[in-house]
């Protein structure tokens, strides 16, 4: 079973890397530049289900081409960005959104960095407080290290 998976991975690698990158270039009959920008922006926020490290805008997989066409049609019919995203999520799950929505499962992802930042800020504040209240302590004497003159750079030059 692992060999089958490995083979599939190889096939995908070939499709997703070895084939023409250029096939993602498809001029579409946009009504105006604003619409083109909206399309580019939207397709960059979506993940290609097949070549999962590429955006829908950049991928040359057949499914990406189909989905781009589908999105274009939907835009022509007046669907909003949210409606288009919902359409895709209903068929391909949240995975197709590059911006993971904030759900119970992803709160760690979105709030994790904040928690780490708060924790780190606390540690930094403690460290600063600790050091700003001490009197100058003599630099610890080096034992076997007569080689390096550990004179600090307090020579007024500041460097």
């Amino acid at each position: 079973m692992t060999r089958g998976l490995l083979r599939m991975l190889l096939v995908m690698l070939l499709v997703c890397v070895g084939v023409a990158h250029a096939q993602a270039i498809e001029p579409m009959p946009f009504a105006n530049h604003a619409q083109e920008l909206r399309f580019q922006h939207l397709t960059r926020q979506l993940r290609c289900p097949m070549c999962q490290n590429e955006t829908l805008a950049d991928s040359n997989a057949p499914i990406a081409r189909d989905l781009r066409n589908q999105i274009f049609q939907m835009m022509q019919h007046g669907s909003s960005d949210d409606e288009i995203k919902q359409y895709l999520v209903a068929r391909y799950s949240n995975f197709v959104l590059y911006n993971p929505p904030l759900t119970a499962g992803t709160w760690l992802l979105w709030f994790g960095p904040l928690l780490i930042l708060l924790g780190g800020t606390g540690a930094v504040l403690v460290a600063i407080r600790k050091r700003s209240h001490r009197d100058a302590v003599a630099t610890e004497a080096s034992t076997a290290n007569a080689l390096i003159d550990s004179t600090p750079t307090d020579n007024g030059d500041d460097w």
């Binding site: 498809e26 490290n53 760690l108 960095p113 630099t139 550990s150 750079t153």
Partner: protein, 658 residues
């Protein structure tokens, strides 16, 4: 015959690495000078054999030795010689050989330049390097042998992935690895310091130039990778927050914190435990990157083929090295806050805040990169984390650092000088605001572009103000010590980089168009005239090549030749045409001919106008330069016991006293 010699060389190298790793540590522990003295010769011997193995593999590629499986898989008869050499590190086994080769380069340099270090300390440092080498050599010999034979020998090989057949690819891995692997030196210093227990700031002074150089190489490697992706992948993107990119960016961020923390510890003796911890983290992230790319734990188009056995091996190695060092840290790191104290408003505080932001950013990148795995482990369903996540949080976290940057040099160690700060704030702030207002008119009120201009002015005026201050206040000859010059260059680089990113992201114009020969498109103020396509050939490819003449206000600007190549094995590769400029890039990629049978007719094309995109790499290169310049500071060089240059006056003596 020769490939087997390569295998033998690796085995001998492993034995020597074992000697290098174990004996000097025993010697240092027991005070046995003979054992300690094993370190340097063992390191030299290991380097010789690893170089031999590497050379044998290169030779096999150059001589088309398809009886070696790895050569057959990654090259063929039509591959030009320069790409055959690059193919050595084009896949898993060879890239590991490159890794260990570079580790040996660092080790030899360390062995050569550490003659004046105390013996006990130096032997421990070299021993740690030896132990790391043991792990990698064992990994290569037992799971990833590049010298395996393929019999019967095929008449021709497969091809090197065309995406990799590019000068950028030749350059990027060796430089990147030099950086990655170079953090092992800071790591070795930190471990030796922990083992020895003599935790004064002296060893940090020794570690500093090594760490700065490694970080500079890593910066260069990342810049090269980004530039290569831009030129090769045909989409005008320069960073994708792909797991493999993140794997090199995390050590870079931690290394950035480390070089600043080392400055504090070296000069003031404080924050020793933090500096040690960062040294361990930087190298751990390098190892982690190696693991992520080869274990198949994460999907990435860049990743090497995955194999659970290899994954387990590296994981075990990672656990021993990192787990062991963190345990050592827990036991031996300084428990008392030593060194000179500092007030709330001081240079230390600002550097510490910077460190905090870099560390949190690295943690954030790690979290985002690993989250799909966490999602699977906790059964949260498939979660997808990409540029919207990283691209949102990273700038947010870097904002405090960018805002505080100009103040750093103006603050003093221990306590700050508030009038000076107010001056900086006023001058740089007003300059930034003024330029932002002017810029607003040019960029149609695009916020990102305005922010880019404001940051550039804020940072570069800050740098300039300090440079002027030094010029005025300090006599000639002492104005810009290398360490300071490096800092100024690197900080300027940050400004250039930020401007490049914000301006190119907000002001780029992309358009997919259908053009028949003779038609013109107007993009970003330039006129692109398509003059049709024709067939052309190269050493191992044939291509459809388009011709586009670019003019601006009827003045000729460039003639561009985008290609769509078909390689021998049928792989198709787009070679985009890029007209580079300091203030803008023009970029054309060929799509498809409208009629597949008539390549001389109309084509679909993608045209880009990308202003200031070179500033992204320019800024990165300035940072790299800053790192190298800083490492060259005289203070870091070992005092030559005999010949002191007392020819000059006391000034010189003070400087070589370090």
């Amino acid at each position: 015959m020769t490939p087997e010699l390569g295998q033998l060389a690796l085995i001998l190298a492993l034995l020597l690495a074992l000697a290098q790793g174990i004996l000097p540590l025993l010697g240092a522990w027991r005070g046995n000078r003979a054992l300690m003295a094993v370190a340097r010769p063992a390191a030299a011997g290991q380097a010789v054999f690893v170089a031999m193995a590497f050379g044998i593999l290169v030779w096999a590629f150059v001589r088309f030795d398809f009886s070696v499986q790895y050569v057959a898989d990654n090259s063929n008869l039509a591959l030009p010689w320069y790409y055959r050499i690059a193919a050595v590190w084009g896949a898993h086994e060879g890239s590991l050989l490159l890794w260990i080769f570079i580790l040996n380069v660092w080790t030899v340099a360390l062995a050569a330049f550490s003659q004046k270090l105390p013996e006990v300390f130096a032997s421990r440092v070299l021993a740690v390097m030896g132990l790391i080498a043991v792990g990698f050599l064992a990994f290569i010999i037992f799971t990833s042998n590049p010298f395996g034979r393929l019999l019967p020998m095929p008449g021709d090989g497969a091809d090197l992935n065309p995406v990799l057949q590019d000068p950028g690819m030749t350059f990027h891995p060796p430089v990147l690895y030099t950086g990655y692997v170079g953090f092992s030196v800071a790591f070795a210093f930190a471990i030796a310091g922990l083992l020895g227990g003599e935790l004064e700031q002296a060893w940090v002074r020794w570690a500093r130039p090594w760490t700065n150089i490694a970080w500079a190489f890593l910066t260069c490697g990342i810049v090269a990778g980004s530039w290569w992706a831009y030129a090769e992948l045909g989409w005008g993107g320069w960073w994708f927050w792909d797991p493999v990119e993140n794997a090199s960016f995390m050590p870079w961020l931690v290394g950035l914190g480390l070089i600043h923390a080392q400055a504090i510890t070296e000069k003031r003796g404080s924050l020793r435990a933090w500096t040690i911890l960062l040294s361990i983290f930087a190298f751990s992230l390098s190892l982690l990157g190696t693991f992520l790319v080869r274990s198949g734990v994460l999907t990435s188009v860049h990743a090497f083929a995955s194999d659970p056995r290899r994954g387990i091996f590296i994981l075990a190695f990672l656990t021993i090295v990192v787990g062991g060092s963190l345990l050592l840290y827990a036991l031996r790191a300084p428990k008392v806050a030593g060194g000179k104290p500092f007030k709330v408003v001081s240079r230390e505080t600002v550097l510490l805040i910077g460190n905090l932001m870099f560390a949190v950013a690295a943690a954030m990148v790690l979290l985002g990169t690993l989250f799909p795995l966490i999602g699977d482990a906790l059964n949260l369903g498939r979660v997808s984390v990409g540029p919207p996540y990283f691209g949102f949080l990273f700038p947010l976290l870097m904002l405090p650092a960018v805002l505080l940057l100009p103040f750093g040099p103006f603050l003093r160690w221990g306590k700050g000088d508030t009038p000076a700060l107010k001056q900086v704030l006023l001058r740089a702030g007003i300059a930034a605001a003024a330029c932002a207002i002017v810029a607003a008119f040019f960029v149609d009120g695009q916020l990102k572009a305005i922010a880019g201009v404001a940051s550039l002015v804020w940072l570069s005026v800050g740098v300039l103000l300090y440079a002027i201050k030094r010029w005025r206040e300090v006599p000639r000859g002492r104005r810009y010590p290398a360490e300071m010059a490096g800092m100024l260059l690197a900080h300027l680089g940050v400004g250039v980089f930020v401007a490049g990113v914000l301006l190119s992201e907000s002001l780029s114009v992309t358009s997919d168009v259908r053009m028949a020969p003779g038609q013109t498109q107007h993009i970003g103020g330039y006129d692109f005239l398509f003059q049709g396509a024709h067939r052309t050939t190269g050493p191992n490819w044939r291509a459809d090549q388009g011709v586009i003449t670019v003019t601006r206000d009827s003045k000729a600007v460039a003639v561009m030749h985008p290609q769509k190549r078909t390689y021998l094995r049928g792989q198709v590769q787009t070679e985009s045409a890029v007209d580079a400029g300091i203030f803008r890039d023009l970029y054309v990629a060929l799509g498809e001919p409208m009629d597949a049978n008539d390549i001389e007719g109309a084509w679909s094309l993608r045209l880009y106008y990308k202003p200031f995109i070179r500033w992204i790499w320019g800024g990165g290169l300035l940072m790299m330069l800053g790192g190298f310049v800083c490492a060259g500071d005289k203070r870091f060089r070992i005092k030559r016991a005999a010949k002191t240059e007392t020819a000059a006056a006391g000034l010189q003596v003070e400087e070589t006293h370090a």
